[in-house]
């Protein structure tokens, strides 16, 4: 992204945030698997688990692709 300044690409930060959030949401979904929160519709679909997994995959891909490597 940055040619003059060699700034870490914003996509790396996006990936990092998605990865951390994915882990937290996925973990929270697993913890609540057998006791879904009350008052939440369609909780039987376990949305936090698969949404968290999606965030983990996307975050990991962005982190790996845009990881700031030292230039030689």
């Amino acid at each position: 992204m940055s040619e003059k300044h060699h700034i870490i690409p914003v996509w790396f930060f996006v990936g990092l945030l998605l990865l951390i959030y994915g882990v937290l949401i996925f973990g929270s979904g697993l913890l609540n698997w057998s006791h879904p929160p009350e008052g939440v519709e369609l909780s039987n679909l376990h949305a936090p688990v698969w949404w968290g997994a999606l965030l983990i995959v996307l975050g990991a891909v962005y982190c790996a692709k845009f990881y700031p490597r030292r230039e030689t």
Binding site: H5, I7, L17, I20, Y21, G29, P36, P37, E41, A47
Partner: protein, 567 residues
């Protein structure tokens, strides 16, 4: 709309768990860390105010569309979709896409090639100090007021939705924004807008997905709406617009096409410096042309996470929402529909993500306003009128101080608004006064080299006066609504469209008339600023896949298809 938020806060809409609070805290820590990291890169004026002019088309495009994707926007338009139905999507489609494509293909080359740092800066080069000063002073004043309104609105939403203390929200949000924008300038603002873009999509996309599953798809949702609200049409965009009496907005198609599509949206997307500044950060002309077009594709998709949740609210919510200005304690308002839908489908973790997206949207709105304010104040007011020949480092320092002072003024505005709620609606209306006529002034100046220095100033002033007059007359004497909007049924959204149309027409007429009786600027002063005297780089050697015009046309074709599908 926002003033109404203060009325009727039934109870807190959602309750956060520990994991939700951790998600919110991580967001604050990350944006502060990014701000500190970027500080070392924001050394020169071009770095601080224009992010070094080195952003790719994708980053500039996402920042461009995110600068407009604030939380007030999300909550307000989801509420409008609940109130008016899918007609609210006009503001995302005809009310945005043609203007974004026009900015990219027609106007951006002039902004970029002129090397201006702002829209008032372009007016100074094209017309002179009169039009530029009028535009700069009004923009700086209004931007800082808007930042305060954003701050207060965020604190209010956090109080209503989460039960957070108003002062706590104001202090935490302004400190965070102040630190990261003062440190990294436009670099920080753009980085956070891109983060916000992803947060909003991933925080809100589950609502339409789960809503569609619950209702059995689009046809199931439409059937439920018809069953619950018989005789009312919430799912067609153009059909109910043959007459103002056929739709709840009180608007005819002509106002949507000419008022919204041709003037209001053109004014906002092509001359509001808050959004244009993001595109000026692009690394070259082609990226600057492509950025708004990339933004247009994402803008077209936003109704999925804003309009559809509003419609789903009609189909599934068991509570009846009411207009904010008549809501009684214990009643929910139209603007509560998005948090209500979030709470309906999202448990711990997902709720934190959704709330973080709203907070990010509010903070990005504040950051966008203060970064634009710092640029216009420093380059268009301070440098030309107070200290002309200071070193570059002095202007960067001024930009940093402006950010802090701007936020302090915003905090003052936020508390002022707290004690005078109607001021919020006036501040928002005031912002609209300058945008529509400014479009007339800028576009005439770009496309017609004959337009003279004083014609730009008098046209802009006449347009602003017309806009203010129309607003005041319709606000304080409803009999004028029929005169300006051609229907006594026109609601505030429809009135604003007509007001913009009249302001722009007045601006154009006065500009042309004054031009005809005044002396034009010499050609040598207009090179690189107007169509007839500017060499725009051609793209013959670029593959068609990389040409902005190809993607601009593709965006317009998709726009037409969407209109036909939801006619």
């Amino acid at each position: 709309m926002i003033a109404a938020m203060t009325l009727a806060a039934p109870t807190t809409l959602v309750h956060l768990s520990g994991v939700d609070l951790i998600i919110i805290a991580i967001y604050f820590l990350l944006v502060l860390a990014i701000g500190f990291y970027l500080k070392k890169f924001a050394k020169t004026g071009e770095d601080f105010f224009l992010a070094g002019r080195e952003m790719t088309a994708w980053v500039a495009g996402l920042a461009f569309v995110s600068a407009n994707l604030g939380s007030l926007e999300l909550l307000g338009w989801a509420g409008n979709a609940y109130q008016y139905g899918i007609m609210a999507a006009h503001w995302y489609w005809i009310g945005a896409i043609p203007a974004m494509v026009f900015l990219g293909l027609v106007m951006m080359p002039f902004y970029y090639i002129s090397k201006t740092h702002s829209v008032p800066g372009y007016l100074k080069l094209r017309y002179g100090t009169e039009a530029s000063a009028l535009s700069a002073v009004t923009f700086a004043f209004m931007t800082i007021l808007m930042s305060g309104v954003n701050m207060y609105a965020m604190a209010l939403v956090m109080e209503v939705v989460l039960g957070w203390d108003l002062n706590f929200s104001i202090v935490v949000s302004s400190l965070t924004v102040g630190v990261y924008v003062a440190a990294g300038g436009l670099f920080s603002a753009i980085f956070n807008e891109v983060l916000q873009f992803f947060l909003i999509w991933f925080g809100a996309l589950l609502i339409p997905i789960l809503g569609m599953i619950e209702t059995g798809g689009w046809s199931g949702m439409v059937a439920r709406i018809h069953e619950r609200f018989p005789g009312q049409d919430f799912t067609h965009m153009w059909g109910p617009m043959s007459s103002a009496s056929n739709n709840p907005m009180g608007v005819q198609w002509i106002a949507i096409v000419f008022g919204l599509g041709a003037v209001q949206s053109m004014g906002y997307w092509t001359t509001d410096f808050l959004v244009v500044q993001r595109v000026l950060s692009a690394k070259d002309v082609r990226s600057a042309k492509l950025a708004p077009i990339i933004g247009a594709f994402f803008k077209m998709a936003v109704p999925l996470i804003v309009i559809l949740p509003g419609l789903l609210g009609r189909a599934v919510l068991n509570v009846h929402l009411v207009p904010g200005n008549v809501a009684q304690p214990g009643q929910f308002k139209f603007d509560d529909v998005l948090p209500l839908m979030l709470a309906r489908y999202c448990g711990p973790g997902l709720l934190g993500l959704g709330i973080t997206a709203l907070i990010a949207g509010f903070m990005a709105g504040m950051a966008g306003n203060v970064s634009a304010f710092a640029t216009v104040w420093t380059y268009d007011i301070y440098r030309p009128y107070m200290r002309k020949d200071a070193p570059d480092a002095h202007y960067v320092s001024m930009g940093r101080w402006c950010t802090i002072i701007g936020l302090i003024v915003s905090i003052g505005t936020a508390y002022l608004v707290q004690y005078n709620k109607s001021m919020m609606d006036y501040v928002q209306a005031l912002f609209g006064f300058f945008i529509a006529p400014l479009f007339g002034t800028v576009v005439l100046g770009m496309l017609w080299k004959r337009v003279s220095r004083m014609a730009g100033f008098w046209g802009l002033l006449a347009g602003v006066v017309t806009s203010v007059t129309a607003f005041m007359l319709m606000k304080f004497d409803p009999s004028w609504v029929k005169v300006f909007a051609f229907s006594p049924l026109a609601q505030p959204l429809a009135q604003a469209m007509w007001q913009a149309l009249w302001a722009c027409v007045t601006c154009v007429v006065v500009t042309v008339l004054v031009t005809l009786v005044t002396k034009p600027k010499p050609d040598e002063e207009l090179r690189g600023l107007v169509y007839a005297l500017t060499e725009v780089p051609r793209e013959e050697h670029t593959s068609w896949l990389h040409r902005p015009a190809v993607w601009g046309v593709a965006a317009l074709v998709i726009l037409v298809v969407l209109q036909i599908i939801f006619w």
